[in-house]
């Protein structure tokens, strides 16, 4: 398939000119095209913010739910129909702020999802408050004296939770990002891709240029299966490494542990209610 096959011609995009979200959309379409994923097999669950509008701008099924809630929705979708390719997409506030608890526990559960977090280190849609990933000193109309909290480190946290796939990239690195997206999309299990994304309107500190100058890709010598090493690299800052930090092929498959899918991966919608089984169960409630 071609990236253009996902186009929705004539759509009015609500992003600011120059926003990093455009680049991420382009990366995503390219990765999907290279993997030949038909829109009919793809579902994007997203939250609320600028990033979660992404699925409105290309051809896909979409469940654009509430701020912070994309991960449990995505999990429900996957667990109802394992044949679908499911992406959970949103912003840094969405996924690490309001949705922080779902992040923790989705990683533990390890459903086969791709988790795309557009990390612009700011709340875009609500006009520029600090996000969990905002760097100390970042001044906003709400953080009038600058952020002082420890920034949330999604990679370190995911590795601490023993996530099965942990990566970071930069919206400005097209080729590398397409490659990382493809790996994440084909990874069997939960895959986090945190994406440095410039917000041209509300983040005048962490600009395209800044991200470019303050990040670099991990070299070949990085062993993504070494958890301690991955953690060590994940807590590095300025410059921030990019790439696939960690991979744990040993993590159990979520779907396989769900009773209805043991040996039968057909979607739930294709099954009839099992009234015979229920009759048997009820028969048991007549005797001891």
């Amino acid at each position: 398939m071609n990236a253009t096959d996902y186009d929705r011609p004539g759509v009015d995009m609500a992003w600011c000119p120059g926003c990093g979200n455009f680049a991420i959309l382009k990366i995503l379409k390219q990765a999907l095209a290279e993997l030949d994923i038909p829109p009919q097999r793809l579902v994007v669950a997203s939250g609320i913010g600028q990033a979660p509008k992404t699925p409105h701008y290309f051809q896909t099924h979409l469940f654009n739910g509430l701020h912070g809630r994309a991960l449990p929705v995505a999990t429900g979708i996957k667990a109802a129909n394992p044949e679908l390719l499911v992406i959970a997409q949103g912003g840094d506030g969405d996924m690490y702020g309001e949705g922080g608890n779902h992040f923790l526990h989705t990683v533990r559960r390890n459903p086969d999802l791709t988790h795309l977090v557009h990390n612009n280190m700011v709340y875009g849609l609500t006009k520029g408050q600090a996000s969990p990933t905002s760097l100390p000193g970042f001044v906003t109309p709400l953080q009038t004296e600058g952020v002082f909290q420890e920034p949330f480190n999604p990679l370190a946290a995911a590795i601490a939770l023993n996530a099965s796939f942990v990566a970071r990239t930069f919206a400005g690195a097209f080729e590398e990002s397409v490659a990382i997206f493809k790996q994440a999309l084909t990874h069997p299990g939960y895959a986090l891709v945190d994406i440095f994304q410039p917000c041209v309107t509300f983040n005048r500190v962490n600009t395209f240029q800044w991200f470019k100058e303050h990040s670099y890709f991990l070299g070949d010598n990085h062993n993504a299966e070494d958890r301690a090493q991955a953690f060590q690299r994940a807590i590095e800052s300025d410059p921030w490494p990019l790439g696939i930090f960690y991979r744990n092929p040993a993590r159990a498959d979520y779907i396989g542990h769900l009773a209805p899918f043991d040996g039968d991966r057909r979607p739930l919608h294709s099954r009839r209610p099992n009234l015979e089984a229920l009759a048997r169960v009820l028969q048991g409630k007549r005797a001891l």
Binding site: T60, N64, G65, L84, K285
Partner: protein, 583 residues
């Protein structure tokens, strides 16, 4: 030696003891053995929010005819410890009998002493005292011991053979002691067994809800444990493999309801089960279900609030919350079963209604109903049209096509060529974000228009008594059977009851039905009369009396009989007309 006590037809047995000390085993063994012996059973629980210690009790109604409500009276008290004796004694009547082991109970001169402990020791297992007690009760009833022996074999299957044997022996010696009491003429329980009852279903309210869900096609449950709603979750987990159910213990209630929405969206039939505090956290998703028109079924097991309240007790205090919470305006359906049969039926129907109208459906139960155990001849397993509400999409599919009845055909991702786009923002017919304010009006109207068909499909209230009775007693939810039995006792031809299995939308005929009677009484297990308020809002008819209770316990048949009798006496133009024989 006390005089002979005889109880017939309908006996209220209460067992009291501390948590974690076998009271639950006694209840299980006894109820199943009695039911297998052909007796009708209605057992309710009342327990503290602790795992061990405290003082809990179980009331077991043993009857010759079907029973489905709890009593206030105690005929037979079986206190397993001193605390139980002291706590429950104030509820005794002069004719009540206390059965127990004088070695663990003191200060009860009227006790019929049976040396449970000693008999257990003789059977070779000190800890089998409770088994002896169960044996005694079965002996009193006088049918065979076999059901109990079989129940013991099953209950203790994991234990050493020697322990099982000792328990069997203990049961036998208890049984003999019970027979002796009868033989000696000290106690007589005159109950008529019905052979067919042995083959009845034997269910708790939680089971009825869970089985109803399965019958309704539920194949997905995501929840976070919370009393009293966890029971239904555990039943579904137990049968997950057999019945094909995805079971997910979510990290919190927010995740639970969002997972369920994701599952419905992708074609599953999903349930969440929770209590008030958990429901609060789901109100955001309720609103999301309203906007995206994604079906959702929530089982709301009520308990006394606010906040943590009394976690293991009962109340009907969450009606208004269920009806109004979740921001914005969108239709929903509230159902509230009044019995085990209805719990099954409404839980099943909830899935049908949710799917048909693409709205959230909330099934309101409470601790009293969920924990109550009873026998039933059968449940309706005829297949409902559980499919057919979703379509296979074409390439030009539009999720929110403006439909005359408000119900746009629902597609499912992966079924058909269309793309299924749902959106929490106001959206266009394709499901994409829109700020077209004229469209906004059309979409609001479309969503609210469903209320017309929903109201037409509303389950009718159930009238018991003459449609033109002077006084009408209204119930919703679990108070139904209690009021019904109270009315039977009052047997006044000018008194009727109206039970609402559906709380919202109220069926059309509600206004007419409430306009007729001169006196309208609403019975609710809460402090503020929430259903009475709802009726007033929707029909203009104000209740003349509200009978409310909010101490964490359900009503009893006796107290309702008395309160209603008092009200009827006040309503009667000339109190002299009322004669004692009525009672």
């Amino acid at each position: 030696m006390p005089p002979i006590r005889e109880f017939s037809e309908d006996i209220a047995l209460v067992i009291g003891g501390e948590a974690g000390r076998g009271i639950q085993t006694v209840e299980q063994l006894l109820t199943i053995a009695l039911k297998l012996s052909g007796y009708h059973i209605f057992a309710t629980k009342e327990y503290m929010s602790r795992i061990r210690g405290g003082s809990n009790s179980t009331q077991i109604r043993i009857a010759s005819r079907p029973v489905s409500a709890g009593l206030g009276r105690i005929d037979l008290l079986l206190p397993l410890d001193q605390k139980a004796l002291e706590r429950l004694r104030p509820g005794l009547r002069p004719e009540s009998v206390i059965l127990g082991d004088a070695e663990v109970l003191s200060g009860a001169e009227d006790l019929i002493h049976i040396p449970f402990g000693q008999l257990a020791e003789q059977a070779g297992e000190r800890r089998a005292a409770n088994t002896v007690a169960v044996g005694v009760l079965l002996g009193l009833v006088g049918q065979g011991l076999e059901p109990l022996l079989a129940a013991l074999e099953q209950q203790f299957a994991d234990l050493d053979r020697s322990v099982i044997d000792a328990n069997l022996k203990a049961a036998r010696s208890g049984f003999e002691a019970g027979r002796n009491l009868v033989g000696e003429g000290r106690l007589a329980l005159c109950l008529q067994p019905t052979a067919a009852v042995a083959n009845d279903l034997f269910l708790t309210g939680s089971e009825a809800v869970a089985y109803g869900a399965i019958a309704g096609g539920c194949n997905f449950v995501s929840s976070y444990p919370m009393s009293p709603a966890t029971g239904a979750l555990l039943v579904l987990a137990r049968h997950a493999r057999e019945c094909g159910i995805v079971v997910e213990q979510a990290e919190d209630e927010i995740a639970a309801s969002n997972m369920a929405l994701g599952a419905w969206y992708a074609g599953a039939r999903a349930l969440v089960t929770t209590s008030g505090g958990g429901f609060d956290l789901m109100t955001e998703s309720l609103s999301l279900a309203g906007m995206t028109e994604t079906p959702l079924v929530i089982h709301l097991g009520q308990r006394p609030g606010p906040a943590t309240g009394l976690p293991t007790r009962t109340e009907q205090g969450d009606l208004e919350m269920a009806l109004y919470s979740g921001h914005g305006e969108y239709p929903r359906i509230l159902l509230a079963p009044g019995s085990h049969e209805q719990a099954f039926a409404l839980s099943r129907q909830a899935f049908d209604l949710a799917d048909r109208f693409q709205v959230p459906v909330i099934v309101l139960t409470d601790q009293y109903l969920l924990d109550a155990l009873t026998n039933l001849p059968a449940l309706d397993l005829e297949p409902l049209p559980v499919t057919g509400y979703t379509i296979e999409t074409g390439a030009d599919y539009r999720r929110y096509a403006i439909a005359e009845d408000g119900i746009s055909p629902r597609g499912i991702p992966g079924r058909g060529q269309g793309l299924v786009c749902v959106d929490s923002d106001e959206h266009d017919e394709d499901g994409h974000i829109s700020e077209d304010l004229a469209l906004r009006i059309r979409m609001v109207d479309k969503r609210l228009r469903k209320l017309v068909a929903m109201t037409e499909a509303a389950l009718p209230p159930e009238l018991d008594g003459h449609p033109h009775a002077d006084t009408l007693v209204v119930t919703w939810g679990s108070t139904c059977q209690i009021v019904r039995e109270a009315l039977r006792r009052l047997h006044e031809h000018d008194l009727a009851m109206l039970h609402f299995p559906q709380i919202y939308p109220l069926p059309k005929q509600t206004g007419d039905l409430l306009a007729r009677p001169r006196h309208l009484i609403v019975v609710e297990n809460n402090a503020t009369g929430q259903f009475a308020g709802l009726l007033q809002r929707h029909t203009g008819r104000r209740a003349d009396h509200r009978i409310l209770k909010y101490d964490g316990l359900p009503f009893t048949v006796e107290e309702l009989t008395k309160t209603l009798r008092g009200l009827l006496d006040r309503y009667r133009p000339d109190p002299m007309e009322c004669c004692d024989e009525c009672d």
